[in-house]
């Protein structure tokens, strides 16, 4: 059995949950077994997970699960894994997954690989791949324990609808009361968080100052993209630090990454080189970023960015 913990922040699934179930279903297929999805706490419409390949959808609901505590969640997921006889446990490589994967591995004495990007292969050992060295290489891992714990990198594979909704079964599982009390969750509504974003518009020191960001916001708005920035821009307070991408910031893997006025230092590339398509706007033809780009525009960003926004508007109006 493959057990997928489908996370539901504030009681709702995001794309990540569908990705995890799709991944779990594909893994189950390779292993010749079934995929069971587990949801914790009050969730809207959990039956939808059947569409992504879950043969069963389980829900454990008690009040303690409305407050995220990795100890409570781990005990419950481990308990359910044992109840259903799970050989593989899958979750997202998300802020909660990063606290759960290691705990589950330690609790079950299981081998684990975080941030995987491919479906496992099982001939001659259970093997799975992930990026290492901030995307500069790919490593294959072999897991040798009976039970295995995996977390899936965001945007590593698209959710696939392969089945129909299934009825949700409510089950009981106990965990210790959490010792971490969540006091407040401050999430910007309306924008897609960077780790999940499919479209990202980013800018660097070439912007000269924070007062010039209007043109970046307009391009992002036109595309429905999330905004990001280089590290010095966040360090000097031109932009909030959660926008900082790179080796020491957020690692992203959008379908499209547009970078304006960013030189493309190796530490910046480390966080963005998994993007499917990279567009670089820079006035210096020698900027290293062009080597990592799919499309390049060598000119003043203060001319190019507004022109690009206008061109997107025009294309959308005509097509």
């Amino acid at each position: 059995m493959v057990l997928v913990y489908a996370e539901s922040p504030k009681g709702k699934f995001k794309k990540a949950a569908y990705e995890a179930v799709t991944y779990g279903a594909k893994t189950a297929q390779v292993m010749g077994t079934q995929c069971v999805a587990l949801t914790l706490g009050a969730v809207e419409d959990a039956s939808v997970l059947g569409k992504y390949g879950a043969a069963q959808v389980l829900n454990v609901a008690n009040d303690s699960l409305n407050n995220f505590d990795s100890q409570t969640f781990t005990a419950i997921i481990a308990g359910v894994a044992q109840q259903v006889g799970a050989k593989v446990i899958v979750m997202n490589h998300s802020s909660s997954g990063k606290s759960l994967l290691g705990r589950l591995a330690a609790r079950l004495d299981a081998g684990s690989v975080s941030g995987v990007k491919s479906v496992p292969t099982v001939d001659g050992g259970f093997k799975v791949k992930r990026n290492v060295f901030s995307g500069k290489a790919i490593a294959e891992y072999e897991i040798k324990s009976d039970v295995k714990v995996l977390s899936l990198m965001g945007n590593a594979l698209p959710p696939e609808e392969v089945g129909a909704p299934v009825a949700v079964q409510t089950i009981n599982a106990e965990g210790p009361a959490g010792r971490v009390k969540v006091k407040e969750v401050k999430v910007e509504e309306g924008t897609v968080p960077l780790p999940e974003a499919e479209l990202v518009v980013s800018a660097g020191r070439g912007m000269k100052g924070p007062e010039n960001w209007g043109i970046i916001d307009e391009l992002a708005k036109e595309l429905g993209a999330t905004t990001a920035c280089s590290r010095p821009v966040a360090d000097t307070g031109w932009r909030p630090h959660h926008e900082h991408v790179g080796q020491t910031g957020v690692a992203i893997r959008p379908n499209l990454y547009i970078a304006a006025g960013i030189s493309g230092a190796i530490q910046h590339l480390a966080g963005v080189n998994s993007s499917k398509v990279i567009v670089v706007i820079n006035k210096d033809p020698e900027a290293p970023f062009f080597k990592a780009a799919d499309y390049g525009v060598c000119a003043d960003l203060f001319d190019v960015v507004p022109a690009l926004t206008a061109a997107f508007k025009k294309y959308k109006a005509n097509n």
């Binding site: 100890q71 081998g111 500069k136 290489a137 799919d294």
Partner: protein
Amino acid sequence: MKILVCVSKTPETTAKISFTADNTFNSAGVQYIMNPYDEWYALVRGLELKEQAGGTVTIINVGPADNDQTIRKGLAIGADNAVRVDCDPKSSLYVAKQIAAHAKAESYDVIFFGKETIDYNGSEIGAMVSELLDLPFISYATKLTMEGNTATVERDIEGGIEVAEVDTPVVLSCAKGMAEQRIPNMRGIMMAKRKPLTVVPAVEAADLAVTVGFEMPPAKSAVKMIDPENMDELVKLLYEEAKIL
């Protein structure tokens, strides 16, 4: 306050990444540093806490004798003493069990980790140690305020932050925002030489998940340069050639 900071050694951020014929990381010509999250955020925040509340800061590293130089840097920045668990670790849970074995005997109030190592980017070990010690864990902490033995922690979550409260003992993994990098001064470097660095043997533990091979990401095709006067062309290519919109 008794503080433990877990530090690892990683290739420097601009190091060229390659692998040898027998599929191990090619360390020839590679410079090593202390993992930036461990040094800049975990260690410095640990030191600040000691400066505020008194106590000791201990560094632990699980690794071979080559790592002593990295550990000494941590002592030069201000840690009081260090422990190295002598071995050549190959998997996360193995490392976690070494750290837990040491920490169990010592009863630390706060155990600091970096949010991840910049080489294997695992983000696993902090959570593992918390479970092995049956302690609460908060990952990706960006801000910590301590009052008595109650910690208020801000942490990064998707698209924002979460604020949580927890009593010590607690395990935290640290991200940008926790502290500001400190450069060791001459006095620190001299004192570090005399601070205790205890080498202990590893406890028995299995490697349950190990790397068996490496490959390089597929090479990018050459960049297509677009006439700055023709943004319509770029938009068309994004829709019709790249097909990502």
